[in-house]
Point group: C2
Chain length 430, copies 2
């Protein structure tokens, strides 16, 4: 029962992802038509530089006027792969107003102002799909929104930034320092010329906001996500991690509080045991661990970025949105009914691994232990090493609120016998 009038697709952006989407739409047109039940046709491509040669895309489809394209009125689906907040937001809401559904890969916009997009989609009875916004080709948004819709998700923890995983993996494997590993990642094309968004955790934080919102059926914005980058991770930290049977990963962690009344979302480097499935995620791969009440522990693994993997996710959404259009139906919209508040980082319960440089004299350990006790933080292990009047003390705590842990560190810094706090890292995944 193939419909012959094609569904019309407008593509906003024709960079690495957009050009791959266009290519697959052409080369796999028959498969897409069979799976959708109607052919899909590229009806226009909005770009910034119209003079650039774009293989396989007829010149007459190219336009610099994205607004006119989304306003045409005959567009069934707008695929937005330009990124950033504006003009993407206005283009998407305009697309909904003019009857199109939207497939987006725009994590920054979804994390910043997803609610506006969802509201516009709902007002006009259209779909907003965005599998490609988190973890590239790895099916994650759909499993969370649909497969686990009958379950209660308590935790989402993952490696959602390939650049930083590549750098940390290189540091772990070769013993290289951060700068050296970053240089390697840049040379191999894994890091951008300005790596700030990746290494400072902004990219992962946007993804954490999106994942937390979907997992807990509440609104979580980028500003709600605690964020620490990984630029200060040293080879000494990796050595400490190894001594504990751990490695270091930049993790995005979304959790439901033990009492179920709030949620948290955070991004920071953390030590995780080598036995944890996330520990063996190498190079630029992504992986996300999901814990749900009935399902138990699930993991999703794959390439987290790149033109082809991201295009795969976009096209999967395109097929779904086109099917919905033919069905005159819509897929799941925003689900924020729980309205659970997002708690600050201080409320997160976690463990610390703390390296202190201390004076090598009797009584130091007792002083340090007293500070932990005063803040209600229980010590798991202490390791002491001393030479030439200087000593180092490595303390690993039991689980405690992050506020109590950071209060402890602040108080330790004030001790005369503590010369410095060499490093602090959270320990996760146990």
């Amino acid at each position: 029962m193939m419909r012959t009038r094609p569904l019309k697709v407008a593509l906003l952006g024709c960079g690495v992802v957009g050009s791959e989407v266009a290519r697959i739409m052409t080369t796999h047109a028959d498969d897409l038509a069979a799976r959708i039940g109607a052919p899909v046709e590229l009806a226009g491509v909005a770009v910034r530089r119209p003079s650039k040669v774009r293989e396989g895309i007829p010149a007459e489809l190219i336009t610099t006027d994205a607004t006119a394209l989304v306003k045409r009125g005959d567009i069934d689906v707008v695929v937005e792969v330009i990124g950033g907040i504006e003009p993407a937001r206005t283009l998407i809401t305009t697309a909904f107003e003019h009857g199109a559904s939207v497939v987006s890969a725009n994590k920054a916009l979804l994390a910043e102002d997803g609610a506006t997009l969802y509201a516009a989609a709902e007002e006009h009875g259209r779909d907003l799909y965005f599998e490609a916004a988190v973890a590239g080709a790895i099916p994650l948004i759909r499993p969370l929104r649909e497969s686990l819709a009958g379950d209660k998700i308590n935790r989402v923890m993952g490696i959602v930034n390939g650049t930083t995983n590549f750098i940390l993996d290189a540091m772990d494997t070769s013993g290289a320092g951060y700068s050296e590993a970053l240089d390697e990642a840049t040379a191999l094309g894994y890091a951008e010329a300005d790596p700030t968004a990746d290494v400072e955790g902004f990219d992962a934080a946007a993804k954490a906001a999106i994942l937390a919102g979907i997992a807990f059926h509440t609104r979580v914005r980028l500003d709600d996500v605690y964020r620490e980058g990984m630029t200060e991770v040293t080879s000494a930290d990796f050595a400490s991690a190894k001594r504990m049977g751990c490695t270091i990963k930049l993790l995005a962690i979304c959790e439901r509080a033990a009492d179920g009344e709030s949620v948290t979302a955070r991004v920071h480097p953390a030590m995780i045991p080598l036995s944890h499935p996330l520990a063996s995620v190498r190079e630029a791969y992504n992986a996300v661990f999901v814990e749900a009440e009935a399902a138990g522990q699930l993991m999703f693994y794959g390439p987290g970025a790149g033109g082809s993997p991201t295009a795969s996710a976009v096209l999967g959404d395109l097929v779904a949105v086109c099917r919905n259009k033919l069905n005159e139906a819509t897929g799941p919209g925003e689900s924020a009914y729980t309205q659970l508040p997002v708690s600050p980082m201080g409320d997160v319960v976690t463990r610390y691994h703390i390296s202190l440089d201390v004076a090598d004299k009797p009584g130091v350990l007792a002083q340090v232990a007293t500070v932990f006790a005063e803040h209600g933080v229980s010590i798991d292990t202490v390791r002491q090493q001393g030479k030439d009047g200087e000593a180092s003390l490595v303390v690993v705590t039991h689980r405690a609120p992050d506020a109590a842990l950071s209060g402890t560190v602040e108080a330790l810094r004030k001790l005369d016998t503590v010369r410095g706090v060499a490093s602090i890292m959270r320990v996760e995944g146990e």
Copy 2:
């Protein structure tokens, strides 16, 4: 915009999975209602033994007349968790005829006669969802059917039977033999009193048929799946595997032929490198590796069985089917448009690891090598060990058609100098 008339659900079967579905429908009724947009109500539960006490299920919902239940006409969704071919098939098709959509966990029926179910669903404009039929709670059917709908899947390879993975993991870890490991699995409840369906690979073969059909958009039935159980795997095989840097897993492998014109599906024990992500899947966990043209390599991991995980998958489907019902739409139906034929095992291209007991005299290796050459099978490595006039020869081949490999083995058996073929195992995952 909550609808107040509840959607009515009939549950067929109230064993480990069914009772957990009923329990979650009750305890999480508010969440389910919010996610669906209407309350869902358990309208009837068909069981074999009505006298059994079923906590939390009102006695008036219990019936032994499953046929009358699915014929009631007011049922929106039938959840089938009784398993087996009949009466499940007739109950499902009757449910469609009477206006209900169906959520099923019935891998045997779907593998045996999925086409009949799909056809009945389509004829009556209803949904057939079955995430729970393969790999328990792991979202796999939906990612294959929907997330990867814009991609071309070339390979699905996975551990889809928890019982056999538990046994093989125990053999690998403890050096135990098959019988001993099976006893442990039985004692711990991982293996049934009659473990045939698991250890002979029937369960995994049914799942392979389902996965292959969906991945390649063609019809694959249980009979199309080559099947070898794992009862003959020995601790000597594990020792050989270790020497090669491998372990042994019972794998379900669905592949598109290199020329794209046919597909294969098979279940057998295989050696895989320890560095392969599937090698580290322990105990009764399942994991499935998917290779797609654009997405690259993806892996899905989690508990493959058990009441709660399976119920999670059933309820995810229930939410989707209920949403579709409210939308007066249906989700994806059968997609078998490629009509790719299923090739026999002989056409599969793979590698063999062969252990031979041979006479310890000059010229044996030359004789053996000649047999490989005559069958067009190229040898990767040979390892020879000899003592007291007896010797063993371990040959690992390069990739060759399975027919050529088994022809080689047959010819080797006829050599006077070959006393016996101690073991043959395929090598995968490279």
